[in-house]
């Protein structure tokens, strides 16, 4: 997976490109954790428009980042979620935890 990130104040926006499965999950997790390691980051926005595939391993990555941010009173937001991934997010109840940007 490729990541493109921009930090603006307390917000980090990341565009993810490629497939988010168990194989790519560790790398994505580490990259996102590095981007939000600074405790002053309060919002992580993930642009999902170029995520061509996601399964439950991707849910685990999102859930973990939500927990990290939630612990410091921050938020995880998802934007431009493709329809197939939107279905998985709804099924898992993720939208009760994260917001759509």
């Amino acid at each position: 997976m490729d990541l493109n990130a921009i930090r603006t104040g307390q917000r980090v926006k990341v565009q993810l490109s490629g497939e988010l499965d168990q194989h790519s999950a560790d790398g994505v997790r580490d990259a996102l954790d590095a981007l939000i390691a600074d405790g002053s980051v309060r919002e992580l926005v993930l642009d999902m428009s170029r995520v061509s595939f996601m399964d439950s391993s991707g849910l685990g990555v999102l859930l973990g980042r939500y927990r990290t941010l939630n612990a410091r009173g921050g938020r995880l937001l998802l934007s431009a979620v493709p329809a197939p991934i939107d279905r998985i997010l709804k099924l898992s109840g993720m939208y009760s935890l994260v917001d759509r940007a």
């Binding site: 497939e19 499965d21 168990q22 194989h23 997790r29 595939f53 399964d55 439950s56 391993s57 849910l59 685990g60 990555v61 859930l63 973990g64 197939p84 998985i88 099924l91 898992s92």
Partner: protein, 146 residues
């Protein structure tokens, strides 16, 4: 001569990079039934879940062979994913939404739930110390435009 209209058998080493490979193979085979894009995505996702389970749970830190079999009969596809790994002690527990045997790995525990949602039938047979077989079926819906 053959039991099914069409069938295939694939074996690959339990490396995580083969998850995408298995999705592609299953998707390509299933495409022969002229599925919608949504049906195709359903199959690719379900296969990804079963193959991932075989790799990270079945074999864990060891490696072994994962078998993917597919059979087409009429408008229905049956996939079987098999490993000779550790096996599942309690299949009913494993299939519960959000249950994961590896909470330290930050896993969502949604694998079986997604398989069951996206496929028409999911059957799991497992024996501790011998391995696990997951059998899934999907029937494509008839479309006027086909």
């Amino acid at each position: 001569m053959y039991m099914h209209d069409n069938q295939m058998h694939l074996q690959f080493v339990s490396l995580s990079q083969n998850e995408a490979f298995a999705r592609s193979v299953a998707g390509a085979f299933f495409t022969q039934l002229n599925p919608t894009l949504e049906e195709l995505t359903d199959v690719r996702t379900a296969i990804s879940e079963a193959v991932t389970n075989a790799i990270i749970h079945g074999y864990g830190n060891d490696t072994g062979m994962v078998t993917l079999e597919g059979a087409l009969d009429g408008d229905e596809c049956t996939f079987t994913i098999r490993d000779a790994g550790v096996g599942i002690p309690d299949v009913a527990l494993a299939r519960q939404p959000f249950y994961t045997s590896h909470p330290e790995l930050e896993r969502s525990g949604m694998g079986f739930t997604l398989m069951e949602t996206f496929m028409d039938e999911v059957a799991v047979e497992s024996e501790v110390g011998r391995g696990t077989t997951v059998t899934m079926k999907k029937r494509v819906k008839a479309q006027a435009s086909k």
